[in-house]
């Protein structure tokens, strides 16, 4: 196989004995088992009103996904989240393109990012509620705001650090200024763009769950944060835990999806080492 030129291929000193020599498929389940056991004993010690055991959690999770009481809020939250991130990513793309084409655009982007990026996502919710009322649009607005800035920062860093020789090649083969952005800068910035969307995804998740927990808004059906909050109010502790488990699993699923996306694009093209 071709030798990859990454620093990642520096060999680590092989451990002569012990834990590191056990294969990963055994190591992770072992650690997991220990953690689950700890959780179990703590829950039993604490009492079922305040802590659900792992088994109760799994049962409730299964139950909730079978009868829809957990899956429906989850889908509702995911749908809103995707819509918000979609809007945010689109606005980020337009802003960055505009910033690349004009100096005014660049200044605007720099100012907006400096002011709005440090704001915690939920902090904007009161304004959103004043603007849109207590509905889904308010949530979309908040999510979009939470995702635009990490994506815009990542993409414009990608544009700025893009290989200038490639830009020159693009112009040399006859690309217009706009097509240099779409055909050269955009793919060149893909590694940063993907990690930007990753960050945006994490921000969006935190924001939407927090928004639902605090304000209970997510349209008529109610979302995952709502589900958790309701369950807490009625001391349906296993439901609280099943909701948390859902969030954790979704996190792992999306991490895997992003990893796949990277493997099929930037890693395959040698733009990022695995």
């Amino acid at each position: 196989m071709a030798v990859s030129s990454s620093a990642a291929s520096i060999p680590r000193r092989p451990a002569a004995f012990g834990w590191a020599r056990i294969p990963a498929i055994v190591r992770y389940p072992l650690v997991g088992a220990v953690l689950v056991a700890a959780w179990h004993y703590y829950a039993v010690h604490k009492g079922s009103l305040f802590m659900a055991t792992p088994w109760q959690t799994v049962q409730e999770f299964w139950h909730g996904w079978r009868n829809g009481s957990l899956s429906e809020p989850t889908w509702a939250t995911l749908r809103l989240l995707l819509e918000g991130i979609g809007i945010g990513a689109a606005i980020a793309a337009v802003l960055t393109a505009f910033a690349t084409l004009s100096k005014i655009g660049e200044d605007a982007l720099v100012l907006l990012t400096a002011v709005l990026n440090p704001l915690p996502g939920v902090a904007v919710l009161p304004i959103a509620m004043l603007l849109f009322g207590l509905n889904e649009s308010a949530v979309r607005f908040v999510i979009a705001n939470a995702t635009i800035w990490p994506i815009a920062i990542a993409v414009s860093t990608g544009f700025k650090t893009a290989n200038q020789t490639l830009v020159a090649v693009g112009r040399n083969v006859g690309l217009s200024r706009v097509r240099v952005i779409t055909d050269v800068l955009a793919p060149a910035a893909l590694p940063q763009a993907i990690s930007g969307v990753r960050t945006a995804w994490a921000f969006g998740w935190r924001t939407i769950i927090a928004a639902e927990l605090v304000f209970g808004v997510a349209g008529s059906s109610g979302g995952l944060g709502n589900y958790i909050n309701n369950a807490r109010q009625y001391f349906l502790t296993p439901q609280v835990f099943a909701g948390l488990l859902t969030i954790a699993i979704l996190g792992v699923v999306f991490e895997t999806l992003f990893g796949q996306l990277e493997r099929r694009t930037v890693i395959r093209w040698g733009m990022k080492t695995s």
């Binding site: 071709a2 020789t165 090649v169 112009r171 006859g174 690309l175 093209w269 040698g270």
Partner: protein, 281 residues
């Protein structure tokens, strides 16, 4: 393998392409002055350079490192506006970058990493109005020409440095440029690969009859590839001499070593570098 050890047989008469005005050179560089703005001051890289390139000619620009060869080439390609003087291509003076002056850059990372080798060559053709199938067919043809047909489906990061340069050459040639601009394309290759590519390039230029402007700082390379050699001095550079080497014999002839000696003097090169380049035969 006589070509490996030196010059290809010269063409006796070249047919000038009829696309541009019949009179006058294809490229005219007149008292061109070039430089860069750094921290509010203008640093001159090229002081005053003039030369003409006829259609079908192979012009070599040679000069010490940092004398402004790449700067000059970028100006001809349309990336840098002259601060003085005139660059005229086929009668036109306001030159935006374009595929009529396809460039092979000095840098290795000039291929789009997200495109396969084939797509790197075919995509510029698509940009210039070829249909998909025609572009791919033509790209394959030029990869064949540069001995890269077997690597068509690989990605650039899976290629060696020399292969990457050959893809860039194929890409530039496939565009059918009026003028092919090459900036030390073999500069960072080992001597053996360099000689092989020089031979290939000579063959390709024979075959396609493209006008070539080739930048190098190697005297040997200039003698192997050129019809005429433009010698630049240290930065801020001027033309020290323009030498016609058409009809010069192979490296075994007296004429050839005299010419090499003369260029060496002009450039005041260390003996060692010349030994290193010539020591392969």
């Amino acid at each position: 393998m006589r070509t490996l050890s030196g010059r290809m047989p010269r063409r006796q008469a070249r047919v000038a392409p009829s696309e541009h005005e019949p009179s006058g050179p294809l490229l005219r560089v007149e008292h061109v002055r070039l430089g860069y703005w750094t921290a509010r001051q203008f640093t001159v890289a090229v002081e005053d350079v003039s030369f003409d390139v006829e259609a079908g000619e192979r012009i070599i620009v040679i000069g010490p490192s940092g004398c402004g060869k790449s700067t000059l080439l970028k100006a001809i390609a349309g990336f840098i506006e002259p601060a003085g003087g005139l660059i005229q291509m086929a009668g036109r003076t306001s030159l935006a970058p374009g595929p009529d002056r396809a460039v092979v850059f000095q840098e290795f990372d000039q291929l789009f990493p997200w495109r396969s080798v084939l797509s790197n060559v075919a995509y510029p053709l698509r940009v210039n109005g070829h249909r998909r199938r025609a572009a791919i067919a033509k790209a394959r043809q030029y990869l064949e020409l540069t001995n890269l047909a077997h690597a068509a489906d690989r990605y650039p990061h899976q290629l060696s440095g020399g292969m990457k340069q050959r893809v860039a050459i194929a890409r530039a040639l496939a565009l059918d440029p009026t003028l092919l601009l090459m900036d030390e394309p073999f500069g960072s290759l080992d001597a053996i690969t360099r000689q092989r590519l020089q031979t290939e390039l000579n063959r390709i230029v024979e075959q396609t009859r493209v006008t070539l402007l080739f930048v190098t700082h190697s005297i040997e390379e200039a003698l192997v590839l050129g019809d005429r050699i433009v010698v630049l001095g240290d930065a801020p550079s001027r033309v020290i001499a323009t030498v016609d080497i058409r009809g010069l014999g192979g490296p075994e002839t007296v004429e050839y070593s005299q010419m090499r000696g003369r260029l060496r003097e002009l450039l005041a090169v260390d003996k060692e570098e010349v030994e290193e380049i010539g020591g392969l035969e």
